[in-house]
């Protein structure tokens, strides 16, 4: 039983606006919310609320504003950066029950949905009209559109069809002030500043998404999938650059290194050449007539980069098998190791080979294996650091290695996160990527929406104080003093 009187008062207050079963405050009820998909960070919230409609959310926000209680919104909890990590003294706002598809507007090719609708459910609902929602994170079966917007999520097909920000047309956002903002619309452009873009990737810190209208695209006429295997990773990297600069934008262009290939073969036998140093999977889509030429063209480019094999999938079955391997890469590697830590840096494509080399050097230096599976077409790397949390100190080594990999990405002219967000995880690396004046601007943006820092406080943007501390520590390359203390 919860003992704190203030907690029991609070529970009572929430029970006045929500059904009893929607107010969770017992330890075992809170346990499932303890972490998102970044399991290294855990924290139970003070209270978890499971509203069923907009009115209830508004009432919750009114109470939290009045009592200055932090709110962390949660979709499916698949964030890989600790974005949905609860606040010890706050409300965890589970939006999963707001999962209605409100409208499919065929004439304007849009879907209007509640925030808890899953990514895949949108495409499923649009399918019978021959339409689909383009951004396709690997987690699409589980993750919600609210979470996708908060993280500006990407997927395999983002190379051609853009990220979440390019595919969301309108949002209804509830501010902590209790105001409902209507941003964007089914019409293009909006008067005033582009707040619609600002909301994408804002990690639940500027407002709560109550409703989203997204763009639906017609299913492409036709698709082709190619596999190419290489003996050396540089050749694969150069082939990627050559394809993109030849005037073709593939629907997807993915790369896996030797280690990832081997793991996947063991896991689900997608038919990848086991000895290859790297493989590329290239999907082309468009009109049948154009595709034949494009495939021939891409094959020619691949053949110029000393492949050991170039294979065009014969039929839909083989195409699916080739993709299955890529999509199972994480679980496949998970099979080989007790724990893994997934990084998300992005670099300009031309530095692919060099960056991979340096990651190898770092991997050796820290004594942990790193597998590489990534969106090569847009330079978004997902190095997976394999470690064992049960081994004393290994998590810390993994984190330190991860931190160096991200700093390497910044050095290469890239960024510390391409699609997973900063969350709680990459706060220190934000200090590397941004100057104090830039960070101050971010804080000022936050404050324009949420003066008292009640929405997802302590995430995404580090304080200057924290950066100063990180800078000092960084010079000494020491362990964090009081590593368990919050450093917001």
């Amino acid at each position: 039983m919860s003992t704190s009187p203030s907690l029991s008062k609070l529970v009572k207050r929430f029970c006045r606006i929500l059904p009893k079963h929607a107010v969770l405050s017992e330890k075992e009820q809170l346990y499932p919310y303890e972490c998102d998909a970044l399991t290294a960070y855990r924290q139970t919230p003070l209270i978890a609320l499971v509203p069923e409609n907009q009115k209830q959310i508004q009432a919750i926000v009114d109470i939290c504003r009045e009592l200055k209680i932090p709110i962390v919104a949660r979709g499916a909890g698949t964030s890989l950066s600790g974005g949905a990590l609860p606040h010890a003294k706050g409300v965890l706002l589970n939006l999963a029950k707001l999962n209605n598809i409100l409208e499919i507007d065929l004439d304007n090719r849009t879907a209007t949905v509640e925030p808890g609708v899953t990514n895949l459910a949108i495409s499923d609902a649009a399918k019978r009209y021959g339409l689909y929602y383009a951004p396709d994170p690997s987690s699409q079966l589980a993750c919600t559109i609210g979470g996708n917007i908060a993280e500006n999520s990407g997927g395999i097909h983002c190379l051609k069809y853009g990220l979440t920000v390019h595919n969301v047309l309108a949002l209804k956002v509830l501010t902590i002030g209790g105001e409902i903002l209507e941003l964007g619309g089914k019409q293009p452009d909006s008067p005033g500043f582009d707040l619609l873009a600002l909301m994408n990737g804002s990690e639940g810190m500027l407002g709560i998404v109550l409703q989203a209208t997204v763009k639906l695209l017609p299913e492409p006429h036709s698709r082709k999938v190619l596999l190419a295997a290489f003996n050396c990773i540089q050749d694969a990297g150069n082939a990627v650059a050559a394809i993109i600069s030849s005037g073709i934008i593939p629907a997807g262009l993915e790369m896996m290194d030797h280690f990832a290939v081997k793991a996947t073969e063991q896991y689900c036998s997608p038919g990848y050449p086991k000895d290859a140093a790297a493989i590329l999977i290239c999907e082309l889509d468009g009109f049948e007539e154009d595709l034949t030429d494009q495939v021939a063209w891409v094959q020619k480019i691949l053949n110029k980069h000393r492949p050991v094999e170039v294979r065009l999938a014969k039929d839909k079955q083989e195409e699916e098998l080739l993709w299955k391997g890529r999509k199972s890469a994480f679980p496949a590697l998970g099979n080989l190791t007790p724990d893994y830590y997934c990084m998300d840096g992005t670099i300009p494509r031309k530095h692919l080979a060099k960056t991979l080399e340096e990651i190898n050097v770092l991997s050796e230096k820290f004594g942990l294996r790193v597998a590489n599976v990534f969106h090569a077409g847009d330079g978004n790397l997902h190095p997976l650091i394999l470690y064992d949390a049960n081994q004393e100190g290994e998590l810390e080594i993994a984190e330190e290695l991860g931190s160096e990999i991200l700093q390497l990405c910044v050095k290469m002219g890239g960024t510390i996160t391409g699609e997973h967000g900063v969350g709680i995880e990459k706060l220190d690396q934000m200090c590397v990527q941004f100057s104090p004046a830039e960070l101050n601007t971010f804080h000022a943006i936050k404050s324009a929406f949420d003066e008292y820092e009640l929405l997802n406080p302590g995430k995404a943007i580090p304080t200057l104080h924290r950066c100063a501390e990180f800078g000092a520590m960084h010079v000494h390359r020491g362990r964090l003093p009081h590593a368990n203390l919050p450093r917001f």
């Binding site: 004439d107 670099i347 830039e438």
Partner: protein, 352 residues
């Protein structure tokens, strides 16, 4: 090449200290767009030149004063284009002005707006601080998306010093075809086609004829041109340049020209005046003397918004009025970037 960044930064710093408002200028080709303001001019045109262009990376970084012409020439030789097909409205148009105005061209409905291809910016804010947001890579979610905030803000949040834009390959082959259709049928057709995979990269309806630009291999184009039963027209390039640059007859009017954006399938609006359409019907240009509040209300009823684009009669409300809650957030954001309110004050709304 002179780098005048530090000069500009210190001028802004001084202005901030003295509370002196500045009017940021480059090519001044879009002088007609937005509310009229008259402040101490600060030209950034001199800060010019392409900083980085690597065709295989599909991006270009250029200083704000770089002529749009120079950029389009440079990428053309590598068979690339700006996906948003921006209007120039004059030879002096600069890349910074393009981003600040945020006006996209005919390709908007098929390959996105200026904000969609904007990867990163470097700005000087209203305190004279030099800031960088976004970057050179398409995938980047570190920090709030402050770079896209600059797009369409008409210089009210910061002075763009350099911008990085995503490029796309130029379509191998394009062909424009025309069909005679009344506006209501044209809207139906465009939006029906948009639901199926069609190689359409631009649409324009002049009140009588619907013009459709298709891209792809000649055989693909032929197949779809036959399907829509259109007549090919010659010199499609020139045709679309005239639409984009508003050199087409319709635009050469002395009447107030309104830019109205609505959900694309919206039926013809009940609004007196003459009208042409782009973007599958989502963009409707009206030449009309109807008063501003009436047009704003027509646009709003259709679920859209309206702006007085050229030949304004009401110089107060140029852009669609914002609801008070939204305006308040705008005010606070303006203060976050420009606490003294010295950068192009009043250019979008009198309050900003």
């Amino acid at each position: 090449m002179t780098d005048i960044r530090s000069d500009i930064a210190s001028r802004v710093e001084d202005a901030c200290r003295q509370g002196q408002a500045l009017q940021i200028l480059a090519g001044n080709t879009k002088f007609f767009y937005g509310r009229k303001i008259q402040e101490t001019p600060l030209s950034v045109l001199e800060h010019s030149g392409i900083i980085e262009y690597e065709p295989s990376e599909l991006y270009i970084t250029a200083r704000c004063g770089t002529p749009l012409n120079e950029i389009e020439q440079a990428i053309k030789t590598e068979n690339q284009i700006l996906p948003c097909e921006p209007p120039h409205f004059g030879a002096a148009a600069s890349i910074g002005g393009m981003v600040a105005a945020g006006l996209s061209g005919p390709r908007r409905a098929s390959s996105g707006a200026i904000r969609d291809c904007l990867l990163g910016v470097e700005i000087i804010n209203g305190k004279g601080e030099y800031l960088r947001f976004g970057g050179k890579v398409m995938k980047n979610v570190a920090g709030y998306d402050a770079s896209r905030l600059m797009c369409g803000a008409l210089g009210t949040l910061g002075i763009l010093m350099s911008v990085t834009l995503r490029l796309v390959p130029k379509p191998q082959h394009e062909q424009t075809i025309a069909i005679t259709l009344n506006p209501a049928d044209a809207i139906l057709k465009m939006n029906f086609w948009a639901r199926t995979p069609m190689p359409i990269t631009a649409t324009f309806h002049d009140g009588r004829d619907l013009y459709i630009r298709m891209a792809g291999s000649p055989s693909t184009i032929k197949r779809f041109a036959d399907k829509v039963k259109g007549e090919p027209i010659d010199q499609g390039d020139i045709f679309w340049t005239n639409i984009k640059e508003q050199a087409y007859d319709f635009f050469l009017t002395d009447e107030p020209l309104w830019r109205i954006l609505v959900p694309p399938s919206t039926k013809p609006l009940d609004c007196p005046g003459s009208c042409v359409m782009e973007w599958n019907g989502a963009l409707r240009w009206y030449a009309t003397h109807v008063k501003a509040p009436a047009i704003h209300s027509i646009a709003k009823q259709a679920g859209g918004h309206a702006c007085q684009f050229r030949n304004q009669i009401d110089t107060q409300q140029v852009f669609h009025p914002l609801p008070s809650g939204l305006l308040e957030i705008h005010r606070k954001l303006k203060r976050a970037f420009d606490p003294q309110g010295i950068l192009n004050p009043g250019k979008i709304y009198s309050e900003l």
